[in-house]
């Protein structure tokens, strides 16, 4: 269970370039993760979703559009 927490699951809409990989690695490292699993899902349109244990960081365009839809 503790080991699972160390794995960051990252979702992006397209294959990330090196700069993005670096930024993400640095971000998850600061939160105690040394392993990252990437998934490519075009449905999120753009941006990124990072799940570390129970914590979810959702910066996808889909979630932003959904927020706008809710506010409308």
């Amino acid at each position: 269970m503790a080991e699972e927490k160390l794995v960051a699951k990252v979702v992006v809409s397209e294959k990330p370039d090196d700069s993005v990989l670096r930024m993400v690695a640095e971000f998850v490292k600061k939160r105690g993760c040394y392993k990252t699993e990437y998934t490519i899902d075009p449905d999120i349109i753009g941006g990124i979703v990072i799940r570390i244990g129970d914590k979810v960081y959702d910066g996808s365009l889909r979630s932003r559009l959904e927020t706008i839809r809710q506010s409308l």
Partner: protein
């Protein structure tokens, strides 16, 4: 003298004629006696009963007339009574008719006012329902507009976003999360 002679002659003639007809003074007296007896007998046997019968008949007629008069009076009284009863009945009928008209008018007023109240209630309810329906339609429409707008936005953003845009977006998100957590 002469007159005496002629009178004597007439009497002598009459006596002569009576003699020829075989009429004597005794016979005349007998006939007179018979006539009296016949008259008395007829009086008692015929005249009295007939008179009695006539009197009875007259009494009967009087009685009938009296009865007729009584009956006429009674009929007259009945007529008066029936006229009064008819007048009373007419008066009563008029009163009943007037009362019936009043009741009918009151009932009609009640029905009309009830119908008006019901119509008012129906109109108010319909207006409320229409307002609710309008609000619901507006809400649905707004939702649909939002959905369509966002669907279009998704398509446009998904089509137009570049790799650089995506990288910048990721960078901004990471920066924002870090700043938020660091306070």
């Amino acid at each position: 003298m002469f007159e005496f002679d002629s009178g004597m002659m007439i009497l002598s003639g009459i006596a002569d004629m009576f003699e020829r007809l075989n009429i004597t003074w005794q016979g005349i007296l007998l006939h007179l006696f018979n006539l009296v007896i016949l008259t008395v007998g007829l009086y008692f046997l015929l005249f009295k009963p007939v008179k009695k019968m006539i009197r009875e008949r007259q009494e009967k007629v009087k009685k009938i007339e009296k009865e007729n008069a009584d009956l006429n009076e009674e009929v007259k009284a009945l007529k008066n009574s029936s006229r009064e009863a008819l007048a009373e009945a007419k008066k009563e009928a008029a009163a009943m008719h007037e009362n019936a008209v009043k009741v009918a008018n009151r009932k009609a007023d009640e029905i009309v006012s009830d119908a008006k109240a019901r119509a008012k209630e129906i109109v108010a309810r319909t207006e409320t329902e229409m307002d609710e329906e309008r609000a619901k339609l507006r809400s649905d429409l707004e939702k649909q507009i939002a959905d369509v707008s966002l669907a279009v936005a998704e398509k446009v953003v998904g089509r137009d976003i570049t790799k650089e845009d995506n990288r910048r977006l990721i960078e901004e998100s990471l920066k924002e999360w870090s700043e938020k957590e660091n306070g």
